[in-house]
């Protein structure tokens, strides 16, 4: 009995490892997509802007679960075959990227206009102003929003159960189907999710405090 629980806990840990793996890739790519697209939105490049708004709305106004089904079960019809692993991180990256784009756009626009004007008045070219003035301030402002999205991405990694990727929810669900130990198994799995989410939000708060510029923004 005790051994069984140990064996199951080990399996759940392996599942957690897989969840963390796809989440890490998805979060990193999501931040990358968000940063680039958010910057383009901030720069107001005419046609690109419309395309990005379309991308953001398309992914934010539809359920992630349906997006996963489309990627995994429909794309093979036009010759694109993705493995469960590829589908998992790609879906998280695209979905997260749409949310991060909005986070970064808002952060860029929240940078005080005086900072930009001052930099331009001092003779910095537009692009260098963006790199040296807007970006460092905006990145700090984006921390909370970015982590919120990242945590949601991690929690949403549980949706990958539908493509059969062996993440935490998939493993927990399989163990419950085999052993009917509902409360122990799901209880442990929930604790694992809770633990990772708490660590992520604690990290976010630490970053925010460490990177705060005195006199700029709200520091809790």
């Amino acid at each position: 009995m005790q051994n069984d629980l140990m064996k199951e806990a080990t399996e759940l840990l392996a599942g957690l490892g897989n969840s963390l793996l796809i989440s890490a890739i998805g979060i990193a790519l999501g931040i990358g997509i968000g940063l680039v697209l958010g910057a383009i939105r901030y720069a107001r490049i005419p046609i690109a802007n419309i395309a990005i708004v379309g991308f953001v709305n398309a992914f934010r106004c539809t359920p992630l679960l349906v997006q996963i089904f489309l990627l995994f079960y429909a794309l093979p019809d036009i010759g694109i075959r993705l493995t469960p692993f590829e589908t998992s991180w790609l879906a998280l990256a695209l979905w997260g990227g749409a949310y991060q784009t909005e986070v970064f756009r808002a952060a860029f626009e929240a940078v005080p206009k005086g900072e930009v004007t001052a930099a331009r008045a001092l003779g910095l070219p537009a692009f260098q102003t963006f790199l040296d003035v807007t970006l460092p301030i905006a990145l700090r402002m984006a921390i909370t929003g970015t982590t919120t999205t990242a945590i949601t991405q991690f929690r949403s990694s549980s949706f990958m159960i539908v493509v059969g990727y062996q993440e935490l929810t998939y493993v927990a669900n399989r163990i419950v189907s085999d052993t009917f130990k509902v409360f122990e198994t799901f209880g442990i799995a929930c604790l694992m999710y809770l633990l990772v989410c708490s660590i992520l939000s604690a990290l976010s708060r630490t970053f925010e405090r460490r990177l705060a510029i005195p006199g700029l923004g709200v520091v809790k």
Partner: protein, 220 residues
């Protein structure tokens, strides 16, 4: 138009009704829970505040799908034999309650303390101050993010297909499976999933528009 379109559309229409029904019931359940949690957060009893806080932290740190599966498997174990539909609605409602509770709590907390002090100084009782001064203001603050949470719940309703509910996504999957075995064997997965995505998009985009309209209208 090919002959598969009409029957599939009819079938998806039935699925859409199920999705809307699930969303409606989830919203009602989540709103009631949310009100309770917000009330707990304003309590003078430390224990009551703690319970409210704990509920929110627990349910927001765990994936919605995990909660749904937990409820789905746990209910029969404690002797409640319900169908997947009921289990799914309870699971999503419990999860949504935490999110909506946070929205309400945030709105209540955002009303400055001096509003209550002012009302009390003018001779209103504590209850009158709450009903005539605090709640009307909190309501305006809460409405836009509340409508935002409705889109989240509508999107989350797609998760019920994981436990076998024939909602919009569930019926799409059944249709695709059936089409793969009849006639030409073409499952039309891309068209059907894109159709499902569009339906969700229309609902959620409309709700998002409604939220920003309410925000503009109610601005004080």
């Amino acid at each position: 138009m090919s002959n598969w379109v009409w029957p599939v559309t009819l079938y998806l229409g039935k699925g859409l009704l199920v999705t809307l029904w699930i969303s409606l019931l989830t919203v009602i359940l989540a709103t009631m829970l949310g009100l309770l949690i917000a009330a707990l957060s304003q309590s003078t009893l430390t224990f009551a505040r703690f319970v409210g806080r704990l509920y929110v932290e627990l349910f927001r740190g765990v994936p919605s799908l995990m909660i749904l599966l937990f409820v789905f498997f746990a209910l029969p174990q404690i002797g409640l034999r319900t169908g997947p539909l009921t289990a799914a609605i309870i699971g999503l409602g419990l999860w949504g309650g935490a999110n909506i509770g946070e929205v309400f709590r945030g709105a209540l907390d955002s009303i400055p303390h001096r509003q209550e002090q002012g009302a009390r100084a003018l001779g209103l009782s504590a209850t009158e101050a709450l009903v005539f001064v605090i709640l009307p203001q909190a309501f305006r603050r809460a409405l836009p993010p509340y409508v935002g949470q409705l889109t989240v719940l509508v999107q989350a309703s797609a998760l019920t297909s994981v436990v076998g509910v024939s909602d919009l996504l569930g019926s799409a999957r059944q249709m695709i499976e059936r089409l793969a075995y009849v006639g030409t064997g073409d499952s039309h997965a891309i068209e059907i999933y894109l159709g499902v995505l569009s339906i969700f998009f229309v609902i959620c985009y409309a709700l998002t528009g409604l939220a920003s309209m309410i925000e503009r209208r109610l601005r004080v």
